[in-house]
């Protein structure tokens, strides 16, 4: 049995997909009890959805201003390229890399912005303190 949301292999008794968390029995029923057990990595009529994290990649590229976001967009493009070619294992690999680099850019950007804000606030307090002591 496969998750109809992300295409991850799931156990027969699983209620939720271990990869994306979608309710498996529910989605299967909605799909009209579609294909069961498609050949692994082979071409099936409906290729599984492989997330490309494009929105996250663009968000971190625009708003974190770090080159890692661009790396993430490159992998997002590769995900769709592999899916179009029917190469699902490589699409998954690119998908994981896109996710990883989006996180790297996000956390990197967050750390830089937070330490920058802390630095600005700290230097502001220092200036105020020195002004006060200057008048003494």
């Amino acid at each position: 049995m496969y998750c109809t949301n992300c295409g991850e292999k799931a156990g027969e008794s699983d209620k939720f997909c271990t990869n994306c968390g979608a309710a498996i029995s529910e989605t299967l029923e909605e799909a009209g009890g579609a294909e069961k057990d498609p050949p692994l990595g082979g071409e099936s009529t409906a290729p599984p959805h492989v997330p490309n994290y494009l929105v996250q990649a663009i968000l971190v590229t625009i708003f974190c201003c770090l080159p890692f976001g661009i790396v993430s967009i490159v992998f997002a493009a590769q995900v769709n390229g592999h899916v179009a070619a029917g190469d699902i294992p490589n699409a998954r690999r690119a998908s994981n890399l896109a996710k990883t680099w989006a996180w790297v850019a996000f956390i990197g950007g967050l750390v830089i912005v937070l330490s920058w804000v802390a630095l600005v606030l700290f230097s502001g307090i220092l200036t105020e303190l020195s002004d006060e002591f200057g008048t003494l």
Partner: protein
Amino acid sequence: MKLTTPYPLRLGTVSHIGIAALGAVGIAALYVLDPRVPGNYPVCPFLSFTGCYCPGCGTLRALHRLLHADVVGALGYNPLTVLSLPFIVYSITTSALREVHVPVPRPAFIHPQWIWVLLVGIVVFWVLRNVPVAPFSMLAP
């Protein structure tokens, strides 16, 4: 089979609630505190260190203008942010709906070529808005 068990509290659910809460606080703060007034917010570290505008520069001012229903002003501060905002909002909304198991149809498959076009577009926008000459300086925040 009907779903009878309560939804398990997953990391995804927690992060969606967290993003919603942070977003609400951020929007309220941005509505009140004008980013055009120097000192209300720290200057972006990228601009401070490099002296260059990054593709996200002017986002705070653009969102502030949008919150005050000034679309033209918002486009002037950052057209990329304004144009990508509908897609970002759509993506976050559908992602949150899927989190509570509301089935949302996935958008049509994007041909990889368009993602490359988008990437080149962002980089070109990044470079051009730093060119201090007439038509390009319009892209500067």
